[in-house]
Amino acid sequence: MMNEERRAFIKKSGLGVLACLGVASGLIPKFSLEKTVLPAWDEKPVPGKLRWGMLIDTRKCIEGCQQCVAQCHHVHNVPDFNNRKDEVKWIWKSSYNKVFPTASQQFQSEKITGRSYLALCNHCAESPCTRVCPTEATFKRWDGIVAMDYHRCIGCRFCMAACPYGSRSFNWQDPRTAIKNPSLAYPTREQGVVEKCNFCSDRLVKELLPACVEACPQKVMTFGDLNDPKSEIRGLLENNETMQRKPELGTKPSVFYII
């Protein structure tokens, strides 16, 4: 009799412990088991909290205006060789069929195919360039930016082959000779490295918006955190019909367009 009760008690308490563990594992998310108290600004940023993105309202973009391109290329010391073969570009304008080659082309209205569209690095969530880089010179940052560490680039150009958007340029020549008006706050690149748009990570640390966003007279571009449902960019994405470049590749670009 005594033994029987004891056995029942052990059975029940065992079940109870199991149930408690099950409930706890369901309820306690991983981060509450780890150290979560981070001082606001002298620790490393947490990956995945932020995802910078851009929305380009192409309806407002003025044909022939190059202000964003000029400002970006000045701020980041992008060389201009006056030569298509050696061209280095971070942001540029191109025709509809070049920017959206896989979007509907047949019987598309002349108004839409006739315009030119802004193109820049898409800072893809699933970036092919960072996967092929043998030295991890290009890598996915904590805030969704696909960054370049020019110190590490060996100029193999795998990333250029991998990028489906042509967002990367190679320095075939010494870029210093082709920078007319250098900005002293930002480094140049050297011959033999690949370069591309950095989503103005250099300006973001100073709490400034990207140079192109600021330079645009029409406020065509909206920049913000895609992971924040209350951000301006998410509001615009909610209320407009938008598209990405070559979405079928599954790269999940962070640059969106309103056509």
Binding site: A24, L38, A40, K44, K49, D143, D149, A185, R189, V205
Partner: protein, 131 residues
């Protein structure tokens, strides 16, 4: 019978406490991480009036300091350096140059003497190239 009931109650209170604890943890975690998201891209006002370490230490170890700064700021986003005296500096070559730009030959004299050719100025704009 009574024991059975008390067992049930003990179990229930246990579950209640664990869930309460978890929710409180969650709430606290959210509170502490929220300002982080806002301050993520904050830089520090660069105080370039003092060197980050003694002359002797910097003479021997500036390359190590710079390498460490480069790796942690570019790759990990840890842009703030806390000097031994407590002052906070931005990990950037521009922080050094804020002061050392005064002497245009500051880097070059010594590197020439020691016959070392670091690649810094292939890309970074040195004091020699600024007006």
């Amino acid at each position: 019978m009574i024991r059975k009931k008390s067992m049930i109650f003990i179990g229930l209170t246990l579950v209640l406490f664990t869930s309460l604890y978890v929710f409180m943890q969650n709430g606290m975690a959210e509170k502490t991480t929220q300002p982080l998201a806002q301050n993520l891209h904050r830089s520090v006002s660069v105080d370039s009036t003092k060197c980050i370490a003694s002359k002797e230490f910097m003479r021997a170890n500036h390359m190590r300091v710079l390498n460490e700064w480069r790796n942690s700021s570019v790759r990990e986003g840890n842009r703030i350096f806390i000097a031994p005296n407590g002052s906070k500096l931005e990990k950037s070559l521009n922080t050094c140059l804020g002061c050392h730009r005064n002497n245009k030959l500051f880097c070059f004299n010594c590197h020439m003497y020691a016959n070392v050719k670091p690649g810094c100025w292939n890309c970074h704009i040195s004091a020699m190239e600024t007006p």
